[in-house]
Symmetry: none
Subunit: 227 residues, 2 copies
């Protein structure tokens, strides 16, 4: 869940933001002054910060600098001041966006989404999606299969088949479903393809291909992958 830190000294604005954010399933922390804000940010590590520049205890730009000293969390500035200089100062201090009051809630939320989106890691990036078994491991993101310390080469079809099975670990996948996912919607009945390629997978991955422990046949129904 995305965590938002809202910093504003006007209770009604904080309330409006909190209600709207929570309704959209954000997790929200709120601070009404700069000191509390910096503390909360350090303690809670929000994914995005909404900051009103007009705070009672310190200049909003100081809050930006305080945050930028240790984090690159997106900062969305709210301010009643329209002057160009103020905007430039805040942005150059490290803010990511600057919205002037009064603001539309839809727009603010859209800007918030944009800020969160671009700080996300590349999709299909680092997050390792690895499935381990006793004999081998499958890295779905890197498209790699490792067995006994060395990489196993799979052909596109073999890989595709393996992927479907692994994404349904423990579940029975019908022959028809496998054929259609791997070979296309019009290949619901060519079960001989399955036999051939399942044999390849077993030969490459099973310790004893004749007595598979991971690629289980369910006669007349389909196949199942088990860790």
């Amino acid at each position: 869940m995305t965590r938002v830190l809202v910093i504003d000294d006007e209770p009604q604005i904080v309330r409006a933001l909190v209600i709207n954010l929570k309704a959209r399933h954000y997790e929200v922390d709120a601070a009404h002054d700069g000191a509390t804000a910096l503390q909360l940010a350090a303690a809670r590590h929000p994914d995005v910060v909404v900051l009103d520049l007009g705070l009672p205890d310190m200049d909003g730009v100081e809050v930006i600098r305080g945050l930028r000293g240790w984090t690159r969390v997106p900062i969305l500035v709210l301010s009643a001041r329209h002057s160009s200089d103020e905007k430039v100062e805040a942005l150059d201090a490290g803010a990511d966006d600057y919205v002037t009051k009064p603001f539309g809630m839809d727009e603010l939320l859209a800007r918030l989404r944009a800020a969160v989106r671009r700080s996300e890691p590349v999709p299909g990036g680092e997050d390792e999606v690895v499935v381990d078994t006793a004999e081998f491991s499958v890295d779905l993101a890197a498209k790699k299969v490792n067995r006994g310390g060395r990489d196993v080469r799979l052909t596109p079809t073999e890989w595709h088949l393996l992927e479907v099975l692994v994404r349904n670990t423990g579940r029975l996948v019908s022959q028809k479903q496998l054929l259609q996912e791997v070979w296309g919607p019009s290949y619901g009945t060519e079960t001989n393809y399955l036999r051939v390629y399942m044999a390849q997978l077993r030969r490459k991955l099973e310790a004893d291909p004749a007595h598979p422990r991971h690629f289980i046949t369910e006669p007349g129904m389909g196949y199942r992958f088990e860790k």
Copy 2:
């Protein structure tokens, strides 16, 4: 030097932007319609895009989608329309910021700086800037490749291809992804380019180009860089 792509059909706005940007030592490309813009973006790989939504040939939001199909380059939208819906649509399509005309040049430039700044890699962050192998080393920041103590000369395309592969060390990168990242979104199928340039890279970097150890072919799927 930071490269900016300006997309606007009003000559005077383009002129004003180009003059201001060049005075601040940006490198500037300009396009006056969406089709040209997408082409230029693919060819020149700007560090940031300034996009006017009102284009003669296509909807500005379509341009955003066209870019977002293959790149995360920051997009700063200019528009004469103040409506909240327009902003939300553009931002949710993938824009990073939305400025309404008439705009102050100072503010625009500050927002541009903010957009560029946050897309920069973490300075001294965890991402390795230098990747070493037994035979050569790649310095992603300095854009240099060293082999046996001397620098290897790479053409822009060779470098670009190498960069994509190295940034995905160990992971399989599909042919389509490589083509689109290096040559642009409309080059998803010209696999002969890949064959030619992969051969160049191997010739320049592999000890035995006929039996590559680092630039691995996965037939039918793509390529993989291994340390």
